[in-house]
Symmetry: none
Subunit: 202 residues, 4 copies
């Protein structure tokens, strides 16, 4: 019996590199195997098929992101500081694991068909991490009343837009600062707050 080397992480990383650069159907298992320096069959010992491999990249990334996020959410005191740390954490994770992020973004596999339940679940965990902090901020009076889940989704949407379309050279901290500025203070000028403010439901 040969020594069991856990190839999973290497496979995941290599596959992420490929899936991040090409559409699903243009990524070949052969290529991934070659790039990993293992035989094709070995991939199949870890992931039953190409789709599962693709999915695993996503889920793996989400797991790691969730971990980072919880870590970031623990340190600072105020909700605002914690949100800022979390956003920076996401941005940093993105920089470090860009391939994984790209793959996760793609959502190629759940084209419209009701999203993969595990992915869905993990996304909810991420969102809830933000929503939890937002809720605390509201209790502490730092944040105004607004549905925390919606608020979390909005923040994630902002983050995503900056990761994808924002200046790729800005630091995670700068990105976090900029996003939170807009998120917290809004873009209306101070003297002209819209009448919307009252609409929000906690």
């Amino acid at each position: 019996m040969r020594i069991a080397v856990d190839h999973s992480p290497a496979i995941l990383k290599t596959a992420a590199r490929y899936f991040a650069r090409k559409p699903f159907h243009e990524v070949h298992m052969d290529d991934v195997a070659d790039a990993c320096g293992i035989a094709k069959g070995t991939i199949y010992r870890h992931y039953p098929n190409k789709e599962a491999l693709f999915l695993a990249i996503t889920l793996d990334w989400m797991d790691r992101l969730a971990e980072q996020l919880h870590k970031a959410a623990r340190k600072p005191r105020g909700a605002v500081e914690r949100l800022e740390a979390m956003v920076a954490s996401v941005a940093e994770q993105y920089r470090k694991q860009r391939d994984f992020f790209e793959v996760m973004q793609r959502e190629e596999l759940n084209g419209g068909r009701s999203v993969h339940p595990e992915r869905m679940h993990k996304r909810e965990i991420l969102r809830d991490a933000f929503a939890g902090v937002i809720r605390e901020g509201q209790r502490a009076g730092e944040l105004r009343r607004f549905d925390p889940t919606v608020a979390a989704d909005l923040l994630l949407g902002m983050i995503r837009s900056q990761l994808r379309f924002g200046d790729p050279k800005q630091s995670p901290e700068a990105l976090a600062s900029r996003v939170l500025d807009a998120y917290l203070n809004g873009l209306a000028s101070r003297r002209r707050r819209t009448s919307h403010q009252g609409d929000a439901r906690a």
Copy 2:
């Protein structure tokens, strides 16, 4: 004599339905042709290949969205009102042309590789439509100073997050109202505006 019918719109619509529901590589030209009631070869008379068909769906939607958007941007007076009309317009377009929107979201084909130039260009047009109004709002003093392009991206990110993850039953107007509330007023409580405000660059 057979009357020449322009199948293009029908093909686009049918194909959108398929691409919206399945990943690119699971959509078969046969299916689309059958669903269109035409022969496979006829599709190839309109689109040189599957990828072009996919892309055409995207571009078509973006064109129509841009048109809607400009219409929406024209009517109201103030920048805020115009933004609200534009967001509602996007949401409505999304409801009415959900398949197209789903396809456009996917970005399956430009997995990382330098995004298709025309798509890129059209997305910029959309963003610039928002950025233009934002810039005007800033000039008029309705909106505070903040890079308009970034601001537009952030707004698009918020819209996207609500379209994908928000309450699917809320009306376009409700969605617009809620998004703009957060976008304009921010989520910090009034008494506790963060120090970020000063960071923004116009």
Copy 3:
């Protein structure tokens, strides 16, 4: 549109030649396609997969045999003559379509698992063709009382054993004559008929 040539018979014939000479898993669709002078994909337009192709060979042969059999059963007057014609017919069909017979014999695909229903049904048709004539022979007093279905199975068993293990050079008629001699007259010597005779149930 190209002219539709029905490739089915050619595919069946070629495939039979291959399946008759090699075990299922050693027959390659490529080989069959090449030998047919058509592309691999064309086979799949006619048969959804290799197993279906294999099965089709069997069913096709059984159909043709049943047809021959009914023809043979029609001409002669007496049951014995008809049986003889039928056996000769089977033997002749075997000679002419040996490949098909070999494939049918193999039963490779229904290894133990409850036999394919259509095959089962067709085999019953063949058996019943014999059983019907046997029953008539019993009514006419030519044949003694014995369960006709069992009697038919026994006759088919004899035929099979001769086709597989008998002298390959003997004519269909000789084979039929020899088999029927044993089948009708039995192998006991005349003076020593066993006590079994009484056991048979019509």
Copy 4:
């Protein structure tokens, strides 16, 4: 010190169960190994490859059958009694070792290509066991003149047909009785013996 266990019989038995239920190419060495509770490599220590394993099942069964057969052929006095004992023996063996029988029936591996020599030889041994008794019966006047080899083949054909298609609930003795009734006495009515009788050659 590990006690060396001879896995051969267990492997053979387990493999037989699999090969009896699925076609050759659907039986996986993994399955057999797992079901045996041993590692795949261990099977290869006993049988050089899958084909050899398959063949071994066949040969093993034939050996055991031949042994039974010779035992059965020894006890009774008359040829007819001995034949009956032998047929019952085959039927019993079939009931007890159905898996092996099924495998042996299949002949999957010698699809047309000149049959495996050892198998061929063993089948001849079986046939000759019957042929020998038949020859004695002819000498003793119990059986009429008829090529003993052909006669043996015919009897085996009848047995096979009953094992495969006959009533699965009838006892080995009942099967033997029924088959031999037909085999010895023939199915023609007594008054109407066909002219075939004269055709047979010893």
